[in-house]
């Protein structure tokens, strides 16, 4: 951090908040609110005299509330810049000055109660998002008694208690009586791998953190009895298994099973717990001086604003989604934005550093190139046909389209931001938007060609380029058999599948139409496939109103690796196709012809 602060080409802005981001790759404009510190960071020598005299006492957040700080304080040792800051919500003396003791005490006259927030505008070429994560709050797990029993602490609180720079200067004591605990239990997977309370995913770092802590304790307090209660120990990194074995050899007891609940002995403050040891097949009882809850990691609670500003998507676990898990693991779906660290998924220091290095290299490559290659397949607006309704603005996952309904300004596409998913073209009711190289006429022609002969024997499949189209390829290369009646039409995204493509396929005699796209978490266009789902809901209702069975329009989410699933889906759909009679197809054709002529006469 100190190196970063001193680097001549890095501008470090602490105590700052991003308020707005506009623009696109190579040309982002970022508005940052630099909050008032009320202390001149260039003049402050961190002499401590102000903090000594400050009468306000508050829990120190950095020390997890185990020690106190003043209203004027250094956020943590070795903070960069090495300067104090005043929390004005806590300070007694701003306006009117009721205290002002620090002001009088500071010889360097660094304190300025009139300091104001500053808005800084930056022009940047690329952005790396590295906003980290939150730790799971185990208060909701009432059975473990966190916050009810003083000696039940989280792994983060434990870190402060054992740290040399911590509230006890590294003398490890338990909170209730200040005595050094002799029997300590670690409970793993608190808030992780839990479906009802907590999160269903593995938080990645907790096992190794506990193993590290156990070795640290054994090194400094060899007589301590340590028990680790776990579901599985996941020690899969380089040297991690070795560390696990060292921990076991040092005398740490690993018990496979999680305690149901914890009780406290009110006289001693000791903790009583009962565990089913599933390895030994017996119930064991423990009396411990202290219990450490190995809490999992979760996405930041305040991360939504930045996510919306950068048009980023999140996976169902709340972390930010990368552009592609294998091929572009540090790129965000928005071009020119990169991800590093736990903002993308829970990861340890080594993985975070690796990803940060990769993100910096990716960002550097963009900046040094001076030019950006754009995809040719982007949205094009016919301004004559545009009614300025702003639907395209709302559905564009990248915020690449601007329009103004009140001022009658037609839609305009920023090509550097457009990725060509085609959702805008599919949602535009006026046919004002087309996708270069993937326009409506091309799709109509493909559908027509596919259904030219014996349409009653065909299944039209609109397959997303990145997933189901690749899955169908995989089915073929894997020599997996599926019915030969599928006619696959490739779209860049399922979001491109316009209602009129589906209706035209039915009009031309298709018994079944399948629309398939990526799993929600894998959408290559942030959340374009959510619009597919909404459109399908609309289409199903419309088909029903018209008197066409909604079952004839099928939807499937799959990944490129699910070749077998593609074959299975096509086999199931083939069975459905056989149930669609020629009479039903003919009836559909008539209904749709009438529907079209009604629409034309209205227009």
């Amino acid at each position: 951090m100190t190196d970063v602060g001193r680097h001549p080409r890095i501008k470090l802005m602490t105590l700052s908040e991003v308020e707005n981001i506009s623009g696109y790759i190579g040309n982002f404009r970022v508005k940052v609110r630099q909050k008032a510190r009320y202390v001149d960071e260039n003049e402050c020598t961190a002499c401590n005299e102000c903090t000594d005299i400050c009468p306000v006492i508050k829990p120190d957040e950095y020390q997890m509330g185990f020690s106190i700080r003043k209203a004027i304080y250094m956020p943590f040792p070795q903070a960069v810049p090495s300067s104090f800051v005043i929390n004005m919500d806590e300070c007694l003396g701003n306006n009117p000055i009721a205290c002002g003791k620090c002001l009088e005490k500071c010889d360097k006259k660094c304190i300025d109660f009139d300091m104001q927030d500053e808005i800084v505008e930056l022009n940047v070429g690329t952005i790396i998002v590295a906003t980290g994560m939150d730790a799971y709050d185990p208060t909701e797990l009432d059975e473990y008694g966190y916050t009810r029993f003083e000696n039940v602490v989280t792994s983060l609180e434990f870190e402060r208690l054992i740290c040399v720079g911590g509230p006890t200067d590294g003398h490890f004591v338990r909170p209730s009586d200040g005595k050094t605990p002799k029997r300590i239990g670690f409970i793993q997977c608190v808030g992780s791998r839990a479906y009802k309370r907590g999160h269903p995913y593995c938080s990645n770092v907790c096992c190794m953190n506990t193993i590290k802590d156990s070795l640290l304790l054994k090194e400094h307090y060899p007589d301590t009895e340590l028990s680790v209660f776990y579901i599985d120990i996941r020690a899969f990194g380089k040297g991690f298994e070795d560390l696990f074995n060292r921990s076991k050899k040092s005398g740490v007891r690993y018990i496979r099973g999680l305690p149901e609940h914890i009780d406290e002995d009110p006289d001693t403050g000791n903790l009583l717990l009962k565990v089913e040891n599933t390895t030994a097949g017996c119930i064991e009882e423990f009396e411990l001086d202290m219990v450490v809850l190995s809490v999992g990691l979760e996405s930041r609670q305040d991360g939504d604003q930045l996510r919306h500003l950068l048009a980023l998507s999140q996976t169902s676990d709340g972390f930010l989604a990368e552009c592609h898990p294998k091929l572009m693991p540090v790129d965000a779906p928005t071009r020119g934005v990169f991800l590093a660290g736990c903002v993308e998924a829970p990861k340890d220091i080594k993985d975070s550093v690796t990803q940060a290095g990769a993100a910096a290299a990716r960002a550097g490559a963009v900046l040094s190139a001076n030019k950006v290659k754009l995809e040719a397949a982007v949205a094009v607006v016919d301004k004559e046909m545009c009614t300025c309704c702003e639907v395209c603005v709302r559905v564009c996952p990248y915020g690449a389209i601007t329009a103004n309904r009140k001022q009658k300004i037609p839609a305009e596409v920023t090509e550097a931001m457009c990725r060509g998913c085609g959702t805008c073209a599919a949602e535009c009711q006026f046919g004002a938007i087309s996708i270069r190289h993937f326009d409506d006429e091309q799709y109509m022609a493909q559908t027509e060609a596919a259904l030219e002969e014996n349409p009653q024997d065909k299944v039209i499949v609109f397959a997303c380029n990145w997933c189901s189209y690749a899955a169908s390829d995989l089915t073929g290369t894997s020599r997996v058999q599926y019915p030969p009646d599928a006619r696959i039409i490739r779209t860049m995204c399922s979001g491109r599948v316009d209602e009129k493509f589906v209706l035209q396929a039915f009009k031309l005699g298709a018994p079944i139409v399948l629309v398939s796209g990526c799993h929600f978490a894998d959408c290559h266009y942030i959340d374009a496939n959510r619009w597919t789902q909404r459109r399908m809901d609309r289409l199903w209702s419309r088909l029903e109103r018209l008197g066409i069975r909604p079952e004839r329009l099928q939807l499937e989410w799959m990944s490129a690796a699910e070749g077998n699933r593609f074959a299975q889906v096509m086999t199931e759909i083939e069975e459905m196709r056989k149930q669609v009679t020629r009479e039903e197809i003919e009836e559909t054709r008539k209904i749709l012809e009438e529907y079209e002529s009604r629409k034309k006469s209205k227009a």
């Binding site: 169902s316 929600f520 099928q554 199931e572």
Partner: protein, 50 residues
């Protein structure tokens, strides 16, 4: 109290209800019986509808 969503699988015909969820938009609809994603939200019939 939020209403439960009534859903119908258009592959196997199975009808079921799903608890209201804030993250429903982020989650795929999957039929619990046949694992198909062709799951349609069924509009509740209005009073007086036949």
């Amino acid at each position: 109290m939020a209403k439960q969503a009534k859903l119908k699988c258009l592959r196997c015909g199975y009808e079921y209800t799903a608890p209201p969820s804030e993250s429903a938009e982020l989650e795929e609809r999957t039929c619990p019986r046949c694992r198909s994603n062709s799951v349609r939200k069924i509009q509740e019939e209005k009073k007086g509808d036949n």
